[in-house]
Symmetry: C2
DNA sequence: GCTTGACCTTCCCATCATGGGAAGGCCCAG
DNA sequence: CTGGGCCTTCCCATGATGGGAAGGTCAAGC
């Protein structure tokens, strides 16, 4: 199975398969005589694992941990649960942040008559001078790219 | 007012102020004889505008549009409202996506006994072979960096 | 057997907003 | 006049993903 077939079979693009290999998420596959990557069914299985974890919003780093645990027969399910719950916390914090932004924006839009007149509470609100709230990053890491 | 003071006064880092200048979001400020950037109160005002828009989750590109409208006295508030509501839609779609991920993960975690035994439904679920749902990107652009 | 097009390889570059850090210049308080 | 804290520009990194070029390979149809 070459990379294109593996991509079609797993829903992970060929580009990303090479990337995952490069960052050590998956082991280097066998190569054909011409240098083509050749994937076994178990490689495909691992790629599907990755894709599903990715769809759940895990970062590549977390997926790496999960794969360690996946391959470690003696692992404790508590370890996996901890990673999952940690991730749920991050997701919920993201949700809350986005929710607040949406709420603020909807409030502004509601008070904006939205016709041809130039008076616009949205712009006025943005332009008003407020104290800089010192960018307090209560949310911590993982939110750098949220906005 | 030099860049450090402007940064402290607006909550926008000096690095980002230079970046916004570079990408044309703000005009190039005056320079002191030594080449230091010198910011006027109105520059500071613009920076605060930017910071507030950024806190509402607008991208730099959108902030650019908003600033155009801000400076255009004859603009229609409808234009601003359209940008705001468009952004609300994006935020709500993000929320829904994150919510789904969190829901799935919480469900998995709930069914995981989380003790020392190695049986773990989370890992099992990830490892199961499902059809690749063809990564259908119903959400469209703007979600590339969501996860 | 040869052409053609669809694959594969590696390598480099771009994204977006942000920060780190180096090398060198400037300014002010002691 | 010195030291530390500013400032300047320039380069590089992030994370996950894709685009694209240049060149090699494979298989189907002629």
């Amino acid at each position: 199975m070459n990379i294109g077939e593996a991509a079609a079979a797993t829903g992970v693009s060929a580009k990303m398969i090479r990337y995952y290999e490069q960052v050590g998420l998956i082991k280097r596959p066998l190569r054909s005589m011409a240098g083509y990557r050749v994937y076994s069914p178990s490689d495909v299985h691992a790629l599907r694992f990755i894709r599903r974890a990715r769809d759940l919003g895990f970062t590549v780093e977390q997926i790496g941990e999960l794969m360690q645990l996946w391959q470690d027969r003696g692992r404790a399910s508590a370890d996996v649960k901890a990673i999952a719950l940690e991730h749920v916390k991050v997701l919920e914090a993201k949700m809350r942040e986005i929710e607040e932004m949406a709420k603020a924006l909807k409030h502004l839009a509601r008070t904006c008559h939205g016709d041809g007149r130039p008076d616009c509470p949205i712009i006025e609100e943005l332009a008003e001078s407020h104290e800089p709230p010192a960018r307090d990053s209560r949310l911590g890491k993982g939110f750098e790219r949220l906005r």
